[in-house]
């Protein structure tokens, strides 16, 4: 069905005309667009967004590169199955608002995805250019962002059509990417959807986790406003399992529950001195700065603004934290990572941006212990030098300590970013679901349904720690399956 729809769309006259308007040889000769960025020296002192977005001319030029393939493999790389050629070809013909509508057919958060998705590992990795031509892929992510931003700035924000309401109440636990994607699809199908959020602001990790220089809060607000206009209801300051129970939801007539409560439990390394003052989790650091706006002098929430800041870890969150520290005035902002740069899980773009902003990389170093002053404030850390051995289960080369080779590093703030565990609140307070020893909820991978047939789950509470777009993909999959499940019971 998906394929028929794609072919029908592709067969439209305007698409055919566009394909004929330029020779493929000329299309493939165009070099990939470069995203304009704020100068590193300037941006490492502000919270403004680093990427500036493409101009109309740049976007149209980039869209010429897309060959509008018969078999658009790029779509298979997208967890929310955006009709990529359709939106790109709309950009090519100058119908930017139509391009945005095409995004919204399947994505609840296009302006977010255009900014934070690891496209190089998803759609762009499955692009014809990457697979067959061995050239740089179409800049799908940049174009997605362009279309979403164009619509937002145009003042003509479209609200996707929704089916007439069917009156069936659905509860969503958590307003992060999984929950929002699920809510968007369910409201389109006519369900009466309420999203419950524990914090005082909506967006989950999009709000508390990802810094504004990568994803401005305004963008998150506008995407959520779109969902509100479609009819999704939101309740902040409400913890399902605590403020209201599973039973309360049933009694209030909710026929389905989707759990997208996220991976809200930071891991520590459990090494000596880790509870010294000035050492904190990346979640704490980023929450203070992003959610609580602690860098704003008028905010009551404090945050350390260290001069010598070490961030432990090599993921996107570690990059977010170290670049935030730089912006808060760190003279030395350092990544400490036990493997080499090649094994870093962070996106290539994030590592590049960090480097440009003067972030120092202590790769192949692993913290052993911390020491503090008489008031308990961290002063220095002992690092073990590492080398790479044979590949481990993850396929990455295993880091091995070089015996006796250690160094002391002076620090006044340390941010521990070595992963997160699933938030235990839901598994502890819900019955009827199966939970792994890691604390993740067990689901049927095709439907995201849990052992309790009215409860579905997705995102990090199932995966244990993944990306915004994979969480959104789970939300979409769960919406489709819950809809079928509820209809089959009628």
């Amino acid at each position: 069905m998906m394929n028929e729809y794609l072919q029908a769309e592709r067969a439209q006259e305007w698409r055919e005309a566009l394909r004929k308007s330029m020779k493929n040889k000329d299309r493939t000769a165009i070099p990939r667009v470069k995203m304009p960025e704020v100068d590193p020296e300037v941006r490492s002192h502000t919270y403004d967004e680093v990427n500036l977005g493409l101009t109309e001319a740049m976007a149209v030029n980039e869209s010429h590169r897309c060959l509008d393939c018969v078999d658009p493999t790029c779509i298979t790389g997208c967890p929310v199955e955006i009709n990529i050629p359709k939106f790109i070809k709309n950009i090519e013909r100058g119908e930017f608002l139509e391009a945005a509508k095409a995004l919204k057919e399947t994505s609840a958060l296009p302006a977010v995805c255009g900014r934070v998705c690891p496209q190089e590992r998803q759609c762009e990795s499955q692009c014809f250019y990457t697979l067959k031509l061995k050239k740089e892929s179409i800049a799908i992510g940049h174009l997605e962002r362009f279309a979403a931003d164009y619509e937002r700035l145009s003042g003509h924000i479209s609200v996707p059509p929704t089916a007439p309401t069917n009156g069936t109440k659905i509860a969503v636990v958590g307003s992060g990417p999984a929950g929002l994607a699920f809510a968007g699809d369910m409201v389109k199908l006519g369900y009466d959807v309420t999203v419950f959020e524990a914090l005082h602001e909506l967006g989950g990790v999009l709000r508390y986790g990802i810094p504004e220089f990568r994803l401005p809060n305004d963008i998150v607000d506008i995407e959520i406003d779109g969902l509100k206009k479609m009819g999704v209801k939101f309740e902040t300051n409400c913890i399902v399992g605590k403020t209201i129970s599973q039973e309360d939801l049933r009694e209030e007539g909710y026929k389905g529950i989707f759990i997208g409560s996220g991976a809200g439990l930071p891991n520590f390394m459990n090494i000596p001195g880790e509870n010294l003052i000035g050492i904190m989790s990346c979640n704490e650091y980023l929450t203070r700065v992003n959610l609580m706006q602690a860098a704003d002098p008028e905010s009551d929430t404090p945050v350390y603004q260290g001069k010598m800041v070490a961030v432990i870890g090599g993921g996107n969150t570690a990059m977010d934290a170290v670049r935030t520290a730089r912006r808060l005035g760190a003279e030395r902002a350092m990544i400490v990572y036990r493997r080499s740069e090649e094994e870093m899980p962070a996106r290539v773009e994030e590592i590049k941006h960090a480097r440009e902003e003067g972030i120092e990389f202590y790769t192949l170093h692993n913290p052993l212990r911390y020491e503090g002053d008489e008031r308990g404030r961290v002063q220095r850390m002992l690092l073990q030098r590492m080398e790479l051995g044979e590949p481990d289960q993850s396929g990455r080369r295993r880091p091995i300590a070089i015996q006796g080779d250690t160094i002391w590093l002076e620090v006044d703030e340390v941010i521990v970013s070595v992963g997160v565990s699933p938030n235990p609140l839901i598994p502890q307070t819900f019955s009827g679901m199966e939970v792994t020893s890691w604390g993740t909820i067990v689901v049927n991978n095709d439907t995201m349904q849990t052992a309790d047939d009215m409860i579905f789950a997705g995102g990090d509470i199932v995966r244990g720690g993944a990306t915004v777009i994979l969480a959104m993909g789970d939300g979409r999959k769960a919406a489709r399956a819950m809809d079928e499940h509820l209809k089959s019971r009628q």
Binding site: N237, G264, L265, P266, I277, M280, N283, D300, L425
Partner: protein
Amino acid sequence: MNRIVGKETFSDKVVKFEVEAPLIAKSRRAGHFVIVRVGRKGERVPYTIAAADPEKGTITLVIQRVGKSSEKMCQLEVGDYITDMVGPLGKATHIEHFGTVICAGGGVGVAPMLPIIEAMKNAGNRVISVLAARTKELIILEEQVSRNSDEVIIMTDDGSYGEKGLITTGVEKVIQREKVDLCVTIGPAIMMKFVSQLTKKYDVPTVASLNTIMVDGTGMCGACRVTVGGKTRFVCIDGPEFDAHQVDFDEMLMRLKAYN
């Protein structure tokens, strides 16, 4: 937004609020806390729930002016709204028939102790409450505590009310006099540390309710972490109550000064 429906000033420093929060009033149990934020630029601060009226849909918080955020809260009046309030958070107090239970509350810590005293009494325990404060006017809720206690001992640092001396003097007197099966203590960290040291000496199992720095209160940030029995635990989701004899109070005292 939660409306304030009652305000009572206990002393210059201590204010009692009754706040509309029907869902929390219904689901909370002794030992639970809430996170409160006052104003759009406000900080998220945990306060232990002192009482709840599920029919009226209100909860009671007793707040001491100790810093910017508690000061902001104490300036609110009846009819004002609290910007954000979420809960109930933490694990509820473990209540059962232990036998004889000492409830040792210091200063404003008597407020969150009150529901525990009531629950312990209802579970059939002999409850001996020891209330302590620096001076007479800082002794709060004496009447409510008396109603649910078999005995109330009052200690003041300056001897202006009850007996002169620290809370430990009152607790020790009871332990020396009769068999005590459990001690529950809530108050300033330094006070709980000394109560814990004392009861450890006499081998009396002791539970302390810790009030550390928090941001989200749901396990997300780890600002509240403490060392209990050599392991790092989160006060917000693993606590707030822990086996006091296992708590590293010195580390906790140090961490409480993180932003001072």
